[in-house]
């Protein structure tokens, strides 16, 4: 991507997003869309590439989610010659096998190079059924040898510690996003389905500033958080305050927020493309061995930043006049207004701070995973689960709920397949509503 083109593009993107403009500015087509082959769920499902036989896409990546190029993979079927391929820059090798059937897929570990050198997959070789007319994918996830033994030898203390650490990392990110959602609900009664897009905004703004405009990550991230705060300001001043003044009902506002979410999500897709990207820096860090678990240095720093921010938010809420006013409005807006609190100003502050925290959550989520146009939407239901678990409308409940959800998600993978862990969290959400709808820290009141 050319910096000369990209800098105005990034600025345009920020301005446009912050002001919620509908019509997009003239943006040159970026290189971002070139790699659109990465998995984007949606109507455009992978069509079978029927050259001759069936295509088996084998992907090699590290447990940190980094693609490994230059690895040799072989597929051997019954009564057929072995088919060999080498992974490209995207870590994918396409093996064209003679037809549908069962194949043994093997990764040649000696060909692993660079950061992947010396790593091994959990299972090698594997049996894989190739079916006709559908996408046949297999991912070799390579990790250090010790990780493999831990996985093979059942649940070890180290594995649990590692999952708890990962869960805390995830939970802290969810907590940052959950505070804004919960406080907006508490002060205005709005269930904001567009909150996920504020998370995505943080990550995408950082990406454009960092990769597009070439600003160092450490500068780009705070700028993105500031832009997120501006987006929150625009949200309240341009949309929600006028709606409140009109006396629009809560259900109607909820549906408006769904419309806003769709508008923003497809705008992000329009700007960013459907591919998955990473920031320019802090990629491919090796994990630090901290005794019971390993974490990348960048993850540790993220966790510390998130924890510090959460503590500061907590102190502000408890100690300052503004924080007390916020909690008073959350409790009972009419009474707060009667006792001289400027309710609209408190709500505006909640929007600005909540959106900034959501943007920070997006920045950190982009570091922990990758940047993608619907990352916020995908995490939104977990944020809802955290907020509901902690008690809708309470900031501290949202923090506790988020940490519980994060740790629960990761630790549940001991029993549940990883791909189904979100199902567990969503089931918890429904069960909490059934048993204790006011949440862990919420006060019992009639909500039905």
């Amino acid at each position: 991507m050319l910096p000369t083109l990209a800098a105005p593009r990034a600025l345009l993107a920020l301005v446009a997003l912050a002001l919620l403009l509908v019509l997009a500015p003239a943006l040159p087509d970026g290189a971002g869309r070139a790699a659109a082959a990465t998995a984007t769920p949606g109507p455009a499902a992978t069509a079978p590439t029927d050259v001759e036989g069936e295509t088996l896409r084998v992907r090699v990546r590290t447990s940190e989610g980094e693609d490994v190029p230059g690895a040799a993979v072989t597929a051997t079927g019954a009564g057929a010659d072995p088919v060999t391929g080498t992974t490209g820059d995207d870590g994918v090798a396409e093996l064209v096998v003679p037809g549908a059937g069962s194949y043994e897929v093997q990764l040649d570990v000696d060909t692993l190079e660079g950061p992947a050198a010396g790593l091994v997959p959990r299972q090698n070789p594997v049996q894989r059924d190739v079916t006709a007319g559908s996408a046949n994918n297999y991912v070799f996830q390579v990790a250090e040898e010790g990780a493999e033994q831990a996985a093979a030898g059942g649940v070890s203390a180290g594995q649990v510690a590692q999952l708890v650490a990962n869960g805390l990392r995830y939970g802290l990110i969810i907590a940052l996003a959950a505070i804004g959602l919960s406080l907006v609900f508490g002060t205005t009664g709005l269930t904001n389905f567009a909150h996920g897009e504020l998370i995505t905004f943080g990550a995408i703004a950082t990406y454009f500033l960092n990769v597009g405009a070439g600003i160092p990550f450490l500068l780009a991230a705070p700028l993105a958080v500031v832009a997120g705060a501006a987006a929150g300001y625009a949200n309240d001043r341009l949309l929600w305050r006028p709606l409140r003044r009109r006396g629009t009902g809560l259900v109607a506002m909820m549906i408006v927020s769904i419309g806003l979410a769709l508008l923003l999500r497809y705008f992000f897709l329009y700007l960013f493309g459907g591919s998955t990207q990473t920031y320019a820096e802090y990629q491919g860090q090796r994990g630090l061995d901290l005794g019971l678990f390993t974490l990348r240095p960048i993850d540790l720093i993220s966790m510390v930043i998130a924890a510090v921010v959460l503590v500061v938010v907590g102190l502000v809420l408890v100690r300052t006049r503004l924080g007390k006013a916020t909690r008073a409005v959350s409790d009972n807006p009419a009474l707060a207004a009667a006792s001289g609190i400027d309710v609209n100003r408190v709500i505006l502050v909640v929007w600005v701070a909540g959106a900034a925290l959501a943007a920070l959550s997006g920045v950190l989520l982009g570091l922990a995973q990758q940047v993608q146009y619907q990352m916020g939407f995908q995490i939104l239901l977990l944020v809802f689960a955290a907020v509901t678990l902690g008690g809708l409308g309470t900031a501290f409940g949202a923090m506790v709920g988020a940490l519980v959800i994060g740790v629960f998600l990761e630790v549940s993978t001991i029993i549940v397949p990883t791909e189904l862990r979100n199902v567990g969290a969503l089931l918890v959400l429904i069960l909490v509503l059934l048993v204790r709808p006011q949440g862990i820290l919420g006060r019992a009141s009639r909500i039905g």
């Binding site: 109607a252 549906i255 806003l260």
Partner: protein, 331 residues
């Protein structure tokens, strides 16, 4: 700009497959949201249960087509009851969050690799629709219709059945809503406590509305699955629910024909916008720096989001609705 092809595509979409699917799903949602005031954000799950019930029964279990239909309908009833028991006593916004979570649970479960043998994982299932097309009295290889509405025999058959289903569902909704049962339901929407104080079992009425709406949603799932001759889990995501809401609010909630008109208008508008934009991009009226042909789809969904916002703010009763009838969140 080839206006004749643009207009004929738009005209076809007025009665096309998508319109039938969205109309049926929105009729079901209308019973739940429009008449009973239930904020069901999991309608996509009912559509998915219908489609997957049929697909799994026929493709995986090898049972006949009609049994698949029965399984799909029973699945929708079961889902409604399971979903209703914990959530129907909750306030509207809690119900919304719980139903949207349930819909995601359904989608994540059917797309998981663990259940690949049963549900086909992320690539879904196919090969269950032939039982339906075998029932067709239309002659294969011919095309049916007139003007811009000329369809192949297969498509004509599913459209015919789909529109008959829409007519049936609309009739059922019309009759239900002018019955005493329907009046109680509308009463619940307006003031739950008043109805409860008259000695009605509000919970049971809500549950019945959820089941009826869910079953109609499953019918939409049958048309969805059969029309595409396959099911894929990611087509049944939360966005499907949001689009169904847009359709319902466009046509007018709490009106019998609202969902049908809404679906037709929604798809005609989408197809019109898409075709005009694609041709404008192709002819160079819109510079490729602003938009290329892959971005047309994204722009039109941005417009859907904007339309949903504006509708809800300025005309919540939709095209046909009656503002007095639909006092969304009077409580």
């Amino acid at each position: 700009m080839d206006w004749s092809s643009i207009l004929s595509n738009a005209a076809r979409s007025a009665i096309g497959l998508e319109t039938v699917i969205y109309a049926l799903a929105a009729i079901g949602l209308n019973v739940q949201f429009g008449y009973a005031g239930l904020l069901n954000f999991g309608q996509a799950a009912f559509v998915a249960v219908g489609a997957y019930g049929l697909a799994i029964t026929v493709t995986v279990l090898g049972l006949p087509f009609w049994l698949g239909v029965v399984v799909g309908l029973l699945g929708a009833v079961l889902l409604a009851v399971l979903l209703g028991i914990p959530t129907l006593r909750l306030r509207a916004d809690y119900l919304a969050i719980a139903t949207i979570a349930a819909a995601e649970i359904v989608r994540l479960t059917v797309r998981s690799a663990t259940l690949r043998e049963q549900t086909g994982g992320s690539s879904g299932l196919s090969g269950f629709a032939e039982g339906f097309y075998a029932l067709s009295p239309l002659e294969q290889g011919r095309s049916y219709g007139f003007g811009p509405w000329v369809f192949s025999a297969r498509l004509a058959w599913i459209l015919l059945v789909g529109w008959v289903l829409i007519a049936l569902c609309c009739t059922v909704v019309f009759l239900l809503m002018r019955s005493p049962w329907g009046r109680v339901l509308k009463g619940i929407r307006e003031d739950e406590d008043a109805v409860r104080s008259l000695g009605k079992n509000v919970y049971a009425y809500k549950m019945q509305a959820l089941v009826i709406g869910g079953v109609i949603g499953a019918l939409a799932g049958f048309v969805f699955g059969i029309g595409r001759a396959s099911v894929q889990p990611d087509l049944y995501g939360t966005e499907l629910t949001f689009f169904i809401y847009t359709v319902l609010l466009l046509g007018g909630a709490a009106r019998v024909l609202g969902p049908v008109v809404g679906a037709a208008v929604f798809w005609v508008a989408l197809v019109l916008i898409e075709n005009v934009l694609i041709q404008a991009v192709g002819a160079g009226f819109i510079p490729s720096a602003v938009m290329d042909s892959t971005q047309v789809g994204q722009v039109r969904f941005m417009l859907v989001g904007l339309a949903l916002m504006l509708l809800m703010i300025f005309r919540p009763q939709g095209i046909f609705g009656d503002r007095r009838e639909l006092a969304i969140d009077a409580r």
